[in-house]
Symmetry: D2
Subunit: 216 residues, 4 copies
Amino acid sequence: MNNLKAIFLNCTLKESPTKSNTDALIQKAVDEYEKLGIESTVIRVVDYNVATGISSDEGNGDQWPEIYKQVLASNILVIATPIWFGVRGSVCQKVMERLSGGYDEADPETGQFPLYGKVGACIVTGNEDGAHDVCSNTLFNLTHIGCTIAPNSDSYWVGEAGPGPSYLEIGQKSVYANKTVRYLAHNTAWMANLLSNNPIPTNLKELEADAKQASK
Amino acid sequence: MNNLKAIFLNCTLKESPTKSNTDALIQKAVDEYEKLGIESTVIRVVDYNVATGISSDEGNGDQWPEIYKQVLASNILVIATPIWFGVRGSVCQKVMERLSGGYDEADPETGQFPLYGKVGACIVTGNEDGAHDVCSNTLFNLTHIGCTIAPNSDSYWVGEAGPGPSYLEIGQKSVYANKTVRYLAHNTAWMANLLSNNPIPTNLKELEADAKQASK
Amino acid sequence: MNNLKAIFLNCTLKESPTKSNTDALIQKAVDEYEKLGIESTVIRVVDYNVATGISSDEGNGDQWPEIYKQVLASNILVIATPIWFGVRGSVCQKVMERLSGGYDEADPETGQFPLYGKVGACIVTGNEDGAHDVCSNTLFNLTHIGCTIAPNSDSYWVGEAGPGPSYLEIGQKSVYANKTVRYLAHNTAWMANLLSNNPIPTNLKELEADAKQASK
Amino acid sequence: MNNLKAIFLNCTLKESPTKSNTDALIQKAVDEYEKLGIESTVIRVVDYNVATGISSDEGNGDQWPEIYKQVLASNILVIATPIWFGVRGSVCQKVMERLSGGYDEADPETGQFPLYGKVGACIVTGNEDGAHDVCSNTLFNLTHIGCTIAPNSDSYWVGEAGPGPSYLEIGQKSVYANKTVRYLAHNTAWMANLLSNNPIPTNLKELEADAKQASK
């Protein structure tokens, strides 16, 4: 699996150097990727000046374009986020809004959205509840902008119901999280390799033209 | 793409022969698959005696085992459902509960869940709202039991906010639904063919053993 | 708070006499209501022949009408359900579909839906995740058919991420669940008493007529 | 209903003076409140410097404290937001995260969270889908920090499936949105008046102490 790259967008609300629970689970995936010969880049989004908006470049010092360039240069995109109030954090939601800006930049020949051929995954940490909802929405969004989702491509840790200790405090020995992060790394790595050798051929522009004809 | 099979589980609440909006959108996917040489089977779940439960066979005349056998014999699994109160219908939820029964029937060598190697998709119709939530949850659940999700593998139609006419009444000329059902068919067909030639090699049992070791 | 009644619809998938985790948490709310002088009725829906559908009476031995009659005779309606695959169970979804049948039976003078003046609440048990999503959807649905939601009107228990022991096995000593079930009981009881003395006066029919005029 | 105040937090992503679809639907609620003698304040959150975080004051010029002060001075809190990718917008999510900071500021005697006694509501606009999910999560979150939700306290507009015109372009004549915004205004106004005359008496601190005792 030479030359495959993974990018992690860590959507913690906390700026560096504060410790991030989400980063701790990310590092486990990074370790797995390293064993598989895949190079990882971890970006802590809140350390950058990422503007609120839905275009690819909002101007005025917006640093999303430089992050997005790295997303486009990767084979695997892992959205990593904490849960707040049962929902993906605001930084993650902002990232998804910015990624949706790519809709308008489809390939001129095939109409494929910019992330076609990439593999998506999701990592989530939270104190108590909401991981399924966060992963569901996030992986689904990624398929809409072109990503493929391999089986078992999410890894999360949440504690028991109610406020309580965090991943860094009590989650690192979770067999479930340690197992799923391995599934995630192995399945996404294999799928990324497969897709890099087998580009998706679908011509969305032709299909859209056909749909318009059929809708008359 | 010879010998590829698609199965649609139509989770409408209405028994035959009442017209099903969801079936009308399914038929468009069936037409696309036919052009691609893929054979389709459509099962209207509510016409069968499918028991409530979370095992693969609940006994007492439960007909889920005969449906599940056909799921296992297919390359593409399309869950199709109406939306009620913003959530996937109760028949769909029952189907997902029954599919989760397969968790306990992993491959003895690799530990892979029974749907590994299959491709999942989702079709939704509703009067007004909730398609994203239904597709998100359903496609995510499918990845947990082994399915791969290709890009743009959902097709749905919903009308404007509030009660209103149904898909059969005003949705059939929707360019969006007609476009996305084509994306769905082409991407899932291509992915199913790719996976049938390239079985996913991941050994979940070994990874789980490694995770247990790491969690000590 | 004389003469106030609470009804619990236990939407476990398991028929009596199998033990129900959800029932165990329900009983704690029943105990609190008893201290407050409120009479509770607990209905285990799966023990009844409740038809799939969206009307108030589906005929053919459908027992929903007798359950619904008891809902209408109560001041507090508590929907109690397990989580399956991150979503409310299929029996719960069926109950919500049947409750939506009441939409068509609005008060002829005020247009108020049948549950206006009642107080809604939600109780959830699950192994690991999804309680926020289940409570959110369920309480929101209840407001659409007329219920008022007092603050802190949900109580749930879920364990750590991944498969694991159930509420009956390890949840009963959860301070969080024991605290929230008390909040739920006290706030819903007080609100039910307040609403029984202060019927909601809003005339939905007049407001709808005004809206139609404004939409011309 | 003298002296009742409503505050709307408009969570559009677009800064003033760009037109906001969400603001257009807010204005309809403002008109209704005016007829009922209720004074409205509309705050466009993105025009303020609201920090990312989960405390009540993040310092460094954070303007959330001045917004929050107005929330505390109101009887009705309406969260208004667009939908992006099926989920509430990032500005809305940030607002909910900041509101959760109030958890730590419970009343020293009763333990009630700061929004006890207030009435919550939700207004949503989007092109096509996701309103139920946004309202469900948002209203549920509001109940956790003390708000009461009256029946029919959400108003939203979304168009048909897929990209399409916005509320300002085609939604303003929607009978559904015009009807529900009236239900919202009348029910929340009546409930706010009722609660201002009948403060919720529940002592959460005593109940928590009792729960701790019961959990031993």
